[in-house]
């Protein structure tokens, strides 16, 4: 369709769909919404389109396996760049979401408070976007389980090793051990040799279910693309002679001021180390750990979206429990880039379809933009929505299968010693956490963090929140009452006080 010229001008005329996160889900959401006539602001903290999945090299040079090279932009990036209704805001962080009070111009309308500029600099201009619909695609980050020595420099998440290798062509170390669970460890182990690191071993704590080894099951749940992908990883590990062992994990890291060696143990089905199986491996100068992913829940929670089973609850068309707010990608479950892209596509379509419905139904006196919106939107047909929804369903099956195949049973709690840090920021030990529960009686996450300080530091519980909630539940013998208390971060991102004091222009 050809859009009237004035709507193509970014951020000047309604309706505006704000998409947060420019990974595969966010980029696809922006494209599908824009192609249906909406204006889109695509906000991302990174410089380039692609997010963690399609990490674009920031540094010029030869491509790293599995990653594109700097000169050849990812097709998504090109598509976004050439779509006139998308305003891509790179290096932009959303620091708060503010729902507009009802009766507002539209349900789900939010003010999106952003700040743009070099990461964490002072004086980054603040700006407020008035979103008519919101698509949240903020993704997830590696979950790291604590173990003695995990705070030593050189112990990093698998995502860190991946980001450094693909985006920066830098190896996190020279002799590296990879430990964790799930197929996403494999591309990390393959990217490392490409930047000159030697991978001494990949230790998969789980015992990947039959479907990972059985092509038939993988084909059913994942489709042919994933079978080929898994096959290529296996071939790559063999080519680089990287040992791959299941039911093993790094249970301790050793060193004075940096990691020098690790202890690997065989685990039983509950992830309790098997006595006598411990084996010291060294010298190593880096350990990459990843035990699944933790979704970035602060924005969905700030919008009031319900969370179920640790992920944002969405319906069959990616709508959250808050009208006008959609979620796609790893916020809703982890199934890889194609699944995230399919969800993004659907979320963008659904956002426009709902805006168009709203315009049709609106009392035009109350919502003066509605008529104009209706004139500009070309909402997707029901058939198109249905087709997009059906592509999402296979991804969700895969996400469920993946989650089933890679649980994180509680035996890891036995890896901890009295002095093992559970909160890295505030340097809170397991012993201190246990005292807060046992001696002080803290039975909820708020009292717990205010009693022992776990989760009160710079990362605001992003790294320790889940682990702390599980440890507390084990100590209490019952689930904590408010497990997501640490995920509630009304200030979604730190802002320098002087910048917070600045009144923003509103787009």
């Amino acid at each position: 369709m050809s859009a009237p010229s004035h709507i193509a001008a970014p951020l000047t005329a309604p309706p505006l769909v704000v998409v947060v996160g420019a990974g595969p889900a966010g980029a696809r959401a922006a494209l599908s919404a824009a192609r249906c006539g909406a204006r889109v602001a695509l906000v991302d903290s990174g410089e380039r389109i692609g997010g963690q999945y399609h990490r674009q090299p920031a540094v010029a040079g030869k491509a790293v396996a599995g990653g594109p090279d700097a000169s050849a932009a990812h097709p998504l990036e090109l598509a976004v760049a050439t779509q006139p209704r998308i305003a891509h805001l790179p290096r932009t962080t959303v620091w708060a979401l503010e729902p507009l009070p009802e009766p507002g111009p539209a349900p789900g309308r939010h003010l999106v408070h952003v700040q743009q500029g070099p990461a964490d600099d002072r004086g980054r201009p603040v700006r407020t976007l008035a979103a008519d619909a919101l698509v949240l695609c903020t993704g997830a980050f590696d979950r790291a389980l604590p173990f003695p020595g995990w705070e030593l420099p050189g112990v990093v998440t698998a995502g860190a090793a991946q980001a450094l290798a693909r985006g920066q062509r830098t190896a996190v170390g020279g002799r590296v051990v990879v430990s964790g669970t799930g197929p996403f460890l494999l591309p990390v182990a393959l990217a490392l040799p490409e930047v000159g690191a030697r991978v001494l071993g990949v230790y998969e704590a789980g015992n990947p279910a039959r479907w990972l080894r059985s092509p038939a099951a993988a084909l059913r749940d994942g489709g042919p693309g994933r079978v080929a992908e898994l096959g290529s990883y296996a071939a790559g590990l063999a080519r680089h002679r990287v040992p791959y062992r299941t039911r093993h994990a790094v249970v301790a890291a050793h060193g004075r001021d940096r990691v020098e060696a690790v202890t690997v143990a065989r685990l039983d089905a509950g992830w309790h180390p098997v006595a006598g199986s411990e084996q010291r491996i060294g010298p190593v100068d880096a350990v990459c750990v990843g035990y699944g992913f933790t979704p970035q829940l602060e924005l969905p929670l700030a919008a009031g979206c319900a969370v179920r089973g640790g992920h944002v609850a969405v319906d069959a068309r990616q709508a959250t429990t808050v009208p006008g707010v959609y979620a796609a990608g790893e916020l809703t479950g982890v199934a890889g880039a194609p699944a995230a892209a399919a969800e993004g596509e659907l979320a963008g379509l659904a956002a426009v379809a709902d805006l168009a419905d709203l315009a049709d139904l609106a009392d035009l006196a109350e919502r003066p933009w509605a008529a104009e919106a209706a004139a500009h939107l070309a909402p997707p047909s029901p058939a198109r929505l249905a087709a997009a929804a059906s592509r999402v369903r296979s991804g969700r099956r895969f996400a469920r299968a993946l989650a089933r195949a890679h649980p994180v049973p509680g035996g890891w709690r036995g890896w901890l010693r009295e002095d093992t840090l559970v909160c890295r920021c505030e340097e809170v030990s397991y012993g201190e956490l246990r005292d807060a529960v046992a001696a002080r009686g803290a039975d909820g996450m708020r009292a717990l963090k205010l009693t022992c300080r776990a989760g009160l530091g710079a990362c605001q519980g992003r790294v320790c929140g889940r682990n702390t909630a599980e440890l507390a539940a084990a100590l209490l013998g019952a689930p904590v009452a408010d497990p997501h208390a640490m995920d509630r971060r009304p200030l979604a991102h730190p802002v320098r006080l002087g910048d917070l004091a600045e009144p923003p222009p509103i787009d």
């Binding site: 005292d435 909820g444 009292a447 009693t451 710079a458 408010d482 006080l497 917070l500």
Partner: protein, 415 residues
């Protein structure tokens, strides 16, 4: 456990096999905990109930101020002075009883510093301090330029400053868990996740138990220590109270070097906004460090029910005020913002004592933003009245009966 009041009335109702208590305290915040501590010290068998987790409401949102500096002479100041002197004695006793570790709550007599950057505000501040001095507050006017020696990073634009050496701070949740640890050690019980739906009364109208999500619990007395939710609880108990939530928002910076902000430093307008009855948004700059190194920035007041929505405009106003007082903070990251609800009463005084409309129902609420500071004296006063001891301060200004004369009283069956 058998407690005899001096008037000879036996308050014990619990039989040894039952789940009842002499006193059921509803609310596990600092005020409920202080009441439970003072009652168990007198031998009462108490049961503390909270519908949420422990100390997760207003107490978990407080900055932990033990202030006399922002109180005008009157009963509020008298209670604050009593509580300020009581806290260190109470904590010393808890250390003795529990051991040092479990009674540790970051108590620190850091002092307050009220500053004014304009001439008229400066004059008003000094007048206010003079009146406080007459009421026994240690309020020391600083010479021009002297404030910098107290706070090296303070704006040079300060025209007048008053130092309040008595102002102190503690960590509210640690203090609450210490008090409750003593309660447990004395045989008191604490149960969370139990919702108290109402108060059961006998034929004479006297409270004889509470109705909870886990059934009926018999008791001799009920203490409403529900903080900002105390109005709801009182209404459910058939004795309405004019306690309303008053929202506050706090910014927390990244940890800063020790000594960056040394006192509780606030703009002279703070005492006025705290005393205001205006339901609209009011902001005045209040800046203080914690022992962890973070700096807490307040203070906002707004009556908007229990609406917890973040408002960027409030954060902006808080940030602006703090950056004006301490320019160096302009470059410091704010890493967290949180909001809470203060229990507000129309005359800004707490409600402490038995409710004559519903004998056996006691209130300990309405401390607005001063609950941490006032908890020690509040708990003591309530326990003294309950046990029939002579109270350590005049309880009259805090009695619920005071609302009878106002419109609220007329609408709620006082006449």
């Amino acid at each position: 456990m058998r407690v005899l009041r001096e008037d000879g009335e036996d308050r014990q109702v619990r039989d040894d096999g039952g789940g009842g208590a002499d006193v059921v305290i509803v609310g596990s915040g600092v005020v409920g905990a202080a009441c439970a501590e003072a009652l168990t010290r007198r031998g009462a068998c108490v049961l503390v109930l909270d519908r949420g987790p422990l100390a997760a409401g207003t107490t978990a949102c407080g900055e932990g101020d033990l202030l006399v500096s922002n109180k005008a002479p009157g009963p509020g100041l008298t209670l604050a002075q009593a509580s300020l002197s009581r806290w260190p004695r109470l904590l010393a006793a808890l250390r003795e009883e529990l051991g040092p570790g479990r009674a540790e709550c970051e108590y620190e007599v850091k002092g307050g510093l009220a500053v004014a950057t304009g001439e008229p505000e400066g004059a008003a501040l000094c007048d206010f301090a003079a009146a406080q001095r007459a009421a026994g507050v240690d309020a020391r006017e600083l010479a021009p330029g002297e404030a910098a020696a107290y706070e090296p990073h303070l704006t040079p634009g300060v025209r007048a400053a008053v130092h309040y050496p008595q102002d102190a701070q503690l960590q509210p949740v640690l203090a609450t868990t210490s008090l409750l640890a003593a309660v447990r050690a004395r045989g008191g019980r604490i149960r969370t996740g139990v919702d108290v739906a109402g108060v059961e009364t006998g034929r004479d109208g006297r409270a004889v138990g509470v109705r909870t999500s886990e059934g009926r619990i018999p008791c001799g007395a009920v203490v409403n220590a529900c903080g900002p939710w105390a109005g709801e609880f009182a209404a459910a108990a058939g004795a309405p109270l004019p306690v309303l939530p008053r929202r506050g928002t706090v910014l927390v910076t990244a940890p800063l070097p020790h000594g960056t902000v040394r006192h509780k430093v606030y703009d002279a307008g703070y005492a006025d906004t705290a005393r205001s009855a205006d339901p609209g948004l009011q902001v005045s700059a209040v800046v203080e460090a914690t022992q962890a190194g973070t700096v807490l920035i307040g203070s906002s007041r707004q009556r908007c029910g229990f609406d917890g929505t973040l408002r960027a405009g409030v954060l902006r106003a808080l940030a602006r005020g703090a950056a004006q007082l301490f320019p160096v903070l302009g470059g410091v990251p704010v890493m967290r913002a949180y909001g809470g609800f203060r229990p507000y009463t129309p005359d800004h005084l707490p409600v402490v004592g038995e409710d004559p409309r519903r004998p056996g129902l006691w209130h300990a609420t309405g401390h607005e933003g001063a609950g941490i500071g006032l908890a020690a004296a509040t708990g003591e006063l309530l326990a003294e009245l309950w046990a029939g001891e002579p109270p350590h301060l005049d309880p009259e200004p805090f009695r619920v009966q005071r609302f009878a004369a106002a419109r609220f009283g007329r609408e709620n069956g006082w006449h």
